[in-house]
Amino acid sequence: MNNVIANILRFLVLLVAQVAICQHVSLFGYMTPALFLLALFLLPLELPLSLQYLIGFATGFVVDAFAHTLGVASFSCTLMMFLRPYIVRLLNGNNNNKFENIDRPVPGVKDFRWVFLYTLILTSIYQVVSVLLETMSFRNFGHTLLVILGNIVLSVFVILCIEYIFHPRVKNES
């Protein structure tokens, strides 16, 4: 129960930070961090899959509503939540279908390599899909690529910083 409240609070804080601050950041004119992804990254994998998709969709919708890009973040977040278990399985190096509470990018529980790759891969999925959906064309593709790369770099940097500054405490229930 405690875990649920912590998760909800984390979502609220990160969404407000995203909508109020990060969305207005435009480093060098094209780099915008997607800090709210951290809330999705830290969502426990034991949750029912359909609930995870719904949370991803709702989070994306809120971000969309404030950015006037209806559908973009909702689609990307839902897709990202769908791919997340496979990424974790890949990183864990086994085909175990059971997930534990520690299968999250938590410093101290997972090593830096795990946390970094997890963050990088999922952020990349989100940024590639969302930027392409937002652009909706392959014209001026060089710039689109630049935006995607810039967003990935900045997002991963910000998310890792926040992650390592505020360790979420994980109770090992097993």
Partner: protein, 282 residues
């Protein structure tokens, strides 16, 4: 049948995923369609107020520079007002007997600058204000001081960086005024230590003054341009002095929250002062 239920249980999350992805695509399509704003309008009606209050909060921190820009813009506009100029007949054109509108040229009589009040009193019987500009900024004695809402006072003393202003709230303050629509000239003075009320003197008893009539400067003093609001008539009494009315005037300037003031410079002041001095010597 059981198989079907089993299948649904297993595939439920896939169905949810498909529904959500399709919903996203539909929203995306709706927001891209140029003539269909229903969805984005509905979302905007919820998000809009939140964004507005957020933008308002951020805006509050930027009010300073914006205010300065608005003051500058105000001065530009005020400088073009007709009471800034005097009409002069052009002798060459008069000989060509052209219509009056072409026949005259406008000569700038007044110019504006602005300052901020850094100290002021309102509750004494001799009140004064200090503004943050002085002789280094071209401020001189006897410049008129206006607040955004009306006449505020006159510069009485100048140091290099600051200037003292005598507001209307001072027993020695005298401003020649005209009350409209009666069009009677009088003098605004200040007597009973009330920062909101002054008196309009020397209005003959026969004039028809109503409550709410506006009192403007009449431009006789060479300090104030013509037609600046001083206040509105609050009360009209038949005074002890049989020939004049006692008129209370609600001052237009709110001295309690005065900050930005405009200073008016008479560009021909020394010329006019010389004339006046000569007159006194006779």
């Amino acid at each position: 049948m059981n198989n079907l239920i089993e299948f649904f249980k297993k595939a439920f999350h896939i169905i949810v995923l498909a529904v959500l992805l399709i919903l996203s695509i539909v929203m995306l399509g709706k927001s891209l369609a140029f003539n269909d704003y229903r969805l984005s309008r509905a979302v905007q009606s919820i998000v809009g107020p939140i964004q507005k209050s957020g933008a308002g909060m951020i805006h509050r921190f930027r009010l300073g520079p914006e205010n300065e820009a608005l003051v500058q813009q105000n001065i530009e506009l005020m400088r073009e007002h007709e009471n800034m100029f005097i009409e002069k007949e052009d002798t060459i054109l008069t000989e060509m007997s052209l219509p009056d509108s072409i026949n005259s040229r406008q000569v700038r009589l007044y110019d504006y600058t602005y300052a901020h009040v850094i100290f002021r009193t309102v509750d004494r019987s001799f009140n004064y204000m200090i503004v943050d500009k002085g002789s280094n900024d071209g401020i001189t004695r006897d410049m008129a001081v206006l607040s955004p809402s009306g006449v505020a006072g006159v510069v009485t003393d100048v140091s290099p960086n600051f200037a003292t202003v005598r507001p209307i709230l001072h027993p020695e303050s005298r401003i020649s005024a005209v009350v409209t629509p009666a069009n009677q000239n009088g003098t605004v003075i200040w007597e009973d230590n009330n920062p909101e009320v002054a008196y309009l003197e020397a209005i003959p008893q026969h004039s028809e003054i109503n409550i709410g009539d506006s009192v403007f400067t009449n431009g006789y003093s060479n300090i104030f341009p013509k037609g600046l609001l001083i206040g509105t008539v609050k009360e009209v009494q038949v005074g002890n002095n049989a020939s004049f009315l006692t008129i209370k005037v609600n001052l237009a300037t709110h001295y309690m929250d005065i900050y930005t003031v405009y200073l008016v410079e008479n560009l021909f002041k020394s010329e006019l002062d010389t004339l006046k001095a000569n007159f006194k010597h006779e």
